[in-house]
Amino acid sequence: MSTPGLFVLGATHHRAALAVREKLALDATAAALLHAELAALPGLREFTVLSTCNRIEFYGVAENGDVAARVAAAFCARQRFNREEFDKICLGLGDEAAVRHLLEVAAGLDSQMLGETEIFGQVKAAYAAAQTAGNTGPVLNRVFQKCFQAAKHVRTHTAITEGHVSVANVAVDLAISIFGGLADARILLLGAGEIGEKTARAFQSRGAASVTVASRRLERAMELARALGASALPFEQREARLAEFDIVVCATAAPGMVLGLDAIATAMARRPAQPLFLIDQALPRDVDPAAAELENVFLYNLDDLAQITERNRLAREAEVGKGRAILADRAAALWRAVAPQLAASVPTQTRGEAAPQKPASA
């Protein structure tokens, strides 16, 4: 089978497991070589390659029905990936369906983390790179530019991007709902593991300037502090200096509690009017749960954060239908405008065939 006219083919998280996506991921060298190869491919008038950790997609304008299959073949050859295996997981859409898919991708409706906005920037970057290299033309230029407008429209007119769906970002959202801006908030990170680091980075990405790391191994705390541009604190001073901090991220692997009720109560007595936000991401828990009863103390543990994350995810899912309906209308309108352009640029004999679901095997 073949895909004449406009097509998209590739592999995404929907059908390709992480191990497969790792094999399909293009490094810089492979990407450059593949781009050059595709630019020289006869019958491929325009193309853009979207490569993220969750998808590798080729958007193209083909002059004849075999072009999409040859793109797939070139990609598999470059990645040394079995072509038949690729066909089993391959996404293949043509014409209006391809347009609609691009719109949904850019709007975050096709993302693994539904409604995430990073994909929008990745689509923009992919298009910009293709445009700079001269790989786009009138059809893809129009499709991509309109796709950005449509994605923005969906983000504005639905709640698809509202409420974060990662635990670290949910913790940051909660901190913002307590303190407003994070620029003045003093953050203490207890534990120098991956979870704590991820949360600290999420805080920094949203404006947190003052981060202090304390770990049972001081050298590890200092190492992470250097990586974060933060300062380090001896672990044994954590309770004595607790009053100096507004937000405490607890993510140690300690077998018992590292912040007791008395220490928290003593710290609050020194700063009664200032809220204290405790984020307990440890298992077993690092913070005495009774601290939640103290005035001006807000304690969230792993379950609390997971519940909020799940609620946000469900809320986003409820918006998917609305977003898809908007994008279907936009895609139909865009396709009506683009089809005559394609007719002018693509030889007649290649059009009018049914858009296949998969490109042909090589």
Partner: protein, 281 residues
Amino acid sequence: MLSALSDRTWLWAAAGCYFAGLAFGTIALLRRGRPAGAATYALIAIGYVLQLAGLTVRGRAVGGCPLGNPFELLQFTAWSATTLYLIVGVAFRHSLLGYLTAALAAGLTLSSLAVPAWDASQRTQLFGSNPWIELHAALAVFSYGVFGLLALTSVMFLLRHRTLKAKDLGWWAALLPPIRDLDLIGVRLLGTGAVILTAALAVIVLFFAREPAAVSVAKFAATSLVWLACVTTLALRLRGRLIAQRFALLGIALFVAALLSLVPVDGSRQGTPARVEGRTP
């Protein structure tokens, strides 16, 4: 030109605008999940101008600041709250405060208009020829308007506090400002109210020293009690003894106390000349 319409007509129009702001905000809240900030602000601003016109007409008719009966006191309190909202609301940049201000202003103005008995008698020359007493009354009632805004901020604080403590972060939690901001604004509003009310009391104390007989003991006592509650709350908050929920609850209680204090204040004016038939056309 103002007198082309009666004071109550202006004030009904103002109440209508406040109510429209409330209704518009409610519709927006139900449809879009957030109150219409700019539209509510605009409706409150229009209502404010209309209310100012109505109070001006009434003020001219009674020969002073219109604070002579429950109707006028509630109208003036609502006007004070909207005055402050129009000033701080822009900086606050939160549609929910506007929505609640519209609710407060609509509630006060419509209830005052709906009870004819509260406006049955209009007292002229309420403050005699002494502008100091008039200044005292205007400042005191203005501070009550500030307490009205404090009560609204306190309600928002309690809602935010509940969402954070109960971990019940529904869609409406996103409408609320950060809890620390609400606390800071509450302290500032209480401080502002305390300064204005202290000035009001200072004026009346100075006058009392010269003409003790001219000052109503009930009125003085009621205002003093509100002032005492206000400065005590502020002092305890600044010393960290009264924080979070308890501070917010007292913020609401203070406004209720201020409204209740208007009862003895109004009662003390029974001896002043009435102008029952003298309403402006």
